[in-house]
Symmetry: C2
Subunit: 215 residues, 2 copies
């Protein structure tokens, strides 16, 4: 993906765009799966924008469990919390999932107004705002899923989101069942068992990642 195409410059006309790209001193880097892109131990004045591939925001907790807090792909942003936050969280880092390329931009470049007070800066800030709002929505949805107490209710909550999004009762999970268990923070085998029960109870039909909701 070219820098010209990232969401950050949506709505900026091409001459301004070219000027900003050179002015922003954007750094690009490629990563292989498993590589640590960035830890957030210190406060950093930069955000990452994903140009290709996918990245996970991961935390290792006290017991050594790996928790995926966010899953990011093309045109998503990470690090904005750390560029702005006063109190730095602990043990969170960005890890490459599928081989990826990331563009790093200094946050101060984004927020500052240039000498000419040009409109394009405003547009850029608005674009950032839109992406962060999208992220808020995704996180809220996940909380909604996790707030259900039983595995069954978590799955029903998530499945109905998907079927609503598709506009029909059947859909294909966008990831593996292992990952699904991670997403709903349940034990995989317990989840598999529950899916079978739900199928036995006539709530859903399923075959691997294909799910059909029967009310």
């Amino acid at each position: 993906m070219k820098l010209e195409e990232i969401f950050l410059f949506d709505g900026v006309d091409s001459s301004d765009k070219a000027r900003m790209i050179s002015c922003f001193k954007i750094q690009r880097r490629k990563y292989k799966p498993g590589e640590i892109i960035c830890d957030f131990e210190e406060k950093r004045d930069r955000v990452g924008i994903i140009l290709s591939g996918s990245v996970s925001l991961v935390r290792i907790d006290a017991s050594g469990n790996r928790i995926v807090i966010e899953d990011l792909s093309e045109n998503d942003v990470f690090g904005e919390m750390f560029a702005l936050a006063d109190d730095a969280p602990h043990g969170i880092f960005a890890e490459c999932e599928k081989k990826c390329e990331v563009a790093f931009v200094a946050y101060s470049q984004i927020s500052k107004r240039c000498e000419n007070a040009c409109l394009c800066h405003t547009t850029v800030v608005e674009n950032m705002f839109r992406v962060v709002t999208k992220k808020t929505k995704r996180l809220s949805e996940r909380i909604e899923v996790l707030s259900n107490k039983s595995i069954r209710d978590k799955l029903l909550c998530l499945f109905s989101m998907y079927s609503q999004r598709e506009g029909k009762p059947s859909f294909e999970l966008p990831f593996s069942l292992s990952y699904l268990a991670e997403y709903i923070c349940a034990d995989r085998s317990a989840m598999m068992r529950e899916i079978k029960h739900m199928s036995d109870d006539g709530l859903i039909k399923n075959d691997k990642r294909r799910i059909e909701m029967l009310i």
Copy 2:
């Protein structure tokens, strides 16, 4: 709280501020506990800013359970997801918790640039951006807590966040134990039981809302 004091106008000089306040056609309204401030069935072009009191973003799920997705107080924002999102979520509404006053601002007013392309609009968008980022951080933290599988681990995760924030191992919960159970999405009695076990195991000392972590 006066409109002049809300975060939205931070960094805007007072003459511009006065001009914007009149130009934005902000509506203010007071609510009593339990009142529904706003449902989000239809897409609305406005965000709410809380001037005083507190507000919960609540969802009633299919089984009739009440889920608090976000807790908001002074200078927090709600509705920005719905002003921007394409697909409107279902059954979410904002409910007054402690008696409150809310200012409603049309989102288009915030994002649009006025004829003069004045700087203050940029500042306002930046301020919105900062608040939404703060919200993202809060939601991430909650996911981190909820991602723990056992009640014990959820509590330890949350408690260590608090003690870290306080800079010392003992702290006072900012809300009731009933509410704590809601926050970690666990049954209250089960949580109380677990707190006792943790105390028996020498992990914490506790008296009502006062918690002390012993490693």
